[in-house]
């Protein structure tokens, strides 16, 4: 929306130009790491250089040929998918409860559900780690799935709450009088109306798990290490462009997922009208 000044006035034109410059600068700042990491992954030098002196696909082949990278990639998917599914179930239930209860507890409850999004992951990790150890789950697949679900739930909670905000409660009442019980009402009416929100929340939860380092450092073991964890490990002794290549691949996948999520968001807001 444009500022409410006279469109032709000098002040308005200066204001608009300043705004444009500001937006470009912010975007540039955000994109700069990407503009460096991607070219670095094609560098013909055996260490991280920028700008690269020559171009090669070699580091991508390196990633493909090293079983450790492939295992880590598979681990990331194997962790991310159940994390997304669990987050969808718990996040959606929480959003439904908060939207429909009308109880005075729903505000503090929402804050509690959202807390993992605000808290530094290192704090969650420090809290989770002793618990996981005392449960005898240290280094297990279940441990990291639990950890990432904790940080995945808020994403689903936020997107589904937004979808439910435009959802008239009389729609459920109508379905009930027409003969649908609670479960059928959810499947036949609520779900078709809110699935874009649910799905984009699930994608965000997956992307979060796929990118997450801090919890992975605490909770993964040798058999469950994820891509971000390997990158971290490699950074400390071998600064080869393989890292940049792996990072670029993660970047591509994450961008793709976020793209889908935002398309779903657009679909949702169009429907909401």
């Amino acid at each position: 929306m444009r500022p409410d000044t006279h469109p032709g006035s000098l002040m308005a034109r200066i204001g608009n130009s300043a705004l444009l410059v500001y937006a470009v600068l912010v975007l540039a700042f955000l994109m700069l790491p990407l503009a460096i990491i991607v070219p670095m992954s094609f560098s013909d030098q055996p260490y991280l250089t920028f700008p690269p002196s020559g171009w090669t696909w070699h580091w991508y082949e390196e990633v493909r040929n090293q079983p450790r990278w492939l295992t880590a990639a598979w681990n990331s998917v194997r962790i991310g998918v159940p994390v997304a599914l669990l987050s969808v179930v718990f996040g959606t239930l929480a959003a439904l409860a908060v939207t429909r209860s009308g109880s005075g507890w729903s505000k503090p409850f929402s804050l509690l559900v959202l807390a993992p999004m605000m808290l530094p992951h290192v704090i969650i990790a420090i809290g989770l780690y002793p618990t996981i150890v005392s449960l005898g789950l240290a280094g297990s697949y279940l441990a990291i799935v639990i950890g990432h679900t904790v940080v995945g739930i808020p994403f689903v909670f936020v997107t589904v709450s937004a979808a439910l905000k435009n959802y008239p409660p009389t729609l459920d009442m109508a379905a009930r009088t027409l003969g649908a019980n609670g479960w059928k009402t959810f499947l036949r009416v609520t779900l078709p109306m809110t699935w874009p929100g649910i799905a984009s929340g699930g994608l965000l939860a997956f992307a979060t798990s796929f990118d997450e380092l801090m919890l992975a450092l605490f909770l993964t073991g040798i058999r469950t290490e994820t891509l971000p964890r390997i990158i971290w490990d490699q950074l400390s002794f071998a600064l080869t462009p393989t890292i940049a290549a792996a990072a670029t691949l993660i970047l591509l996948l994450t961008t793709l997922l976020l793209g889908i999520a935002s398309l779903l968001g657009a679909r949702r807001s169009r429907k909401g009208e």
């Binding site: 009389t170 729609l171 109508a174 009930r176 009088t177 027409l178 003969g179 019980n181 059928k184 078709p192």
Partner: protein
């Protein structure tokens, strides 16, 4: 249900609703006859929607029972009550087309596919929307959407059809058109209809009987003419049409009449009425008040000044100040040869004792 598609009798038996210390609805007893068009009329917060929600099954009563044809349904969940409901915001499923919306309740009842098609089509032609069966609700006008909602709520022959201010979102002209539409629809399907509204004209235009609610209590229940001519109390008198209402300070019975003195010091003669206990008001309808330049024969006659004249529709509405604190409103049909009064004019206002009702406050 293949035989005569008559609706069922619905009984509210001593039902009340309390939320903690707050009483949303005092104990109510109402019997709505099979096939009757029954209106629940009242301002917002009067308890009419609570009553409707109880019939639908969304509001569990704190006490009492709700019966359909003598069978207690108070504990039956909404989806098994076989009651239809039409909402103010239509509440059509936006992702289903018109046909699928109307088919929804039949699908829930596992009606065979070909029978669904037949019944939906019959219903759509009844509300004259057959040509729009493939449209999505968002592609329809408000009136059309409400007709789809009507078809959807009636296609499964519900025992009772509940309507919660169904025309509230429509503009005035369309509203009157839809009133006729709903009346005709009622005549065709013969359902029992409970219609919630805050618009007395809507209730008057459509309902066989009306229950007037205020502050969680049923004030009066009966046909519109009775509510208007013999209001049970000052609230009903004021809510249905206009009324001159004077709070009574003293009453003395004189044979068939009663001498009354209002708190403003106005003395008048009313038809005798033995309302015991409660404090009384005198109620005179504006159309029973006559305004004239010359003194009239009426037993209740006052001299005053015209302070306001409004020409509305076929009526002229005068407001006449008779003493420091008391005004009478008079309404007379416009006729060219009748004398007209101007603002500031000295006039007489008169009305008969039999048009002066003594009713509880």
């Amino acid at each position: 249900m293949t035989a005569a598609k008559l609706g069922s009798k619905l009984t509210f038996e001593n039902v009340a609703k309390r939320y903690g210390a707050f009483t949303a609805l005092e104990p109510v007893n109402l019997v709505i006859e099979a096939g009757e068009f029954f209106a629940l009329l009242g301002p917002s917060g009067s308890g009419k929607s609570t009553l409707l929600g109880m019939a639908a099954g969304f509001v569990p009563p704190s006490q009492g029972r709700i019966l359909v044809e003598g069978k207690d349904i108070s504990r039956v969940p909404p989806e098994r009550r076989n009651i239809g409901m039409v909402f103010q915001n239509y509440s059509l499923f936006p992702f289903l087309n018109v046909f699928r919306n109307v088919a929804f309740p039949l699908e829930m009842r596992r009606v065979p596919k070909n029978e669904i098609a037949e019944r939906v089509n019959r219903m759509l032609s009844m509300v004259r929307l057959s040509h729009l069966a493939d449209r999505l609700p968002s592609q329809l006008s408000g009136g059309q959407q409400q007709r789809v909602a009507l078809a959807r709520a009636a296609v499964y022959d519900p025992s009772v059809l509940l309507m919660d201010e169904p025309l509230g979102a429509l503009d005035k002209n369309l509203r009157e058109e839809m009133q006729d539409e709903i009346k005709q629809f009622h005549a065709k399907i013969g359902a029992t209809i409970i219609y919630v509204t805050h618009d007395q004209h809507e209730a008057a235009a459509m309902a066989d009987r009306t229950a007037v609610l205020n502050q969680g209590m049923v004030m009066q229940c009966g046909p519109q003419s009775q509510l208007y001519e013999a209001p049970a109390n000052a609230f009903v008198a004021g809510f249905l049409g206009e009324a001159n209402i004077l709070r009574v300070a003293e009453v003395a019975t004189e044979g068939y009449a009663a001498r009354v003195k209002s708190v403003e010091g106005i003395e008048l003669t009313a038809a005798r009425r033995t309302a015991n206990g409660a404090s009384l008001v005198a109620c005179i309808r504006p159309e029973n008040v006559v305004v004239s330049k010359t003194p009239l024969q009426n037993a209740n006659l006052f001299e005053g000044t015209v302070v306001n004249v409004v020409h509305a529709g076929g009526n002229i509405r005068y407001r006449v100040q008779v003493n420091g604190s008391c005004c009478f409103i008079a309404r007379t049909p416009t006729r060219r040869e009748h004398e007209k009064h101007q603002q500031g004019e000295r006039v007489f206002v008169g009305f008969d004792p039999e048009d002066t009702l003594l009713i509880p406050e």
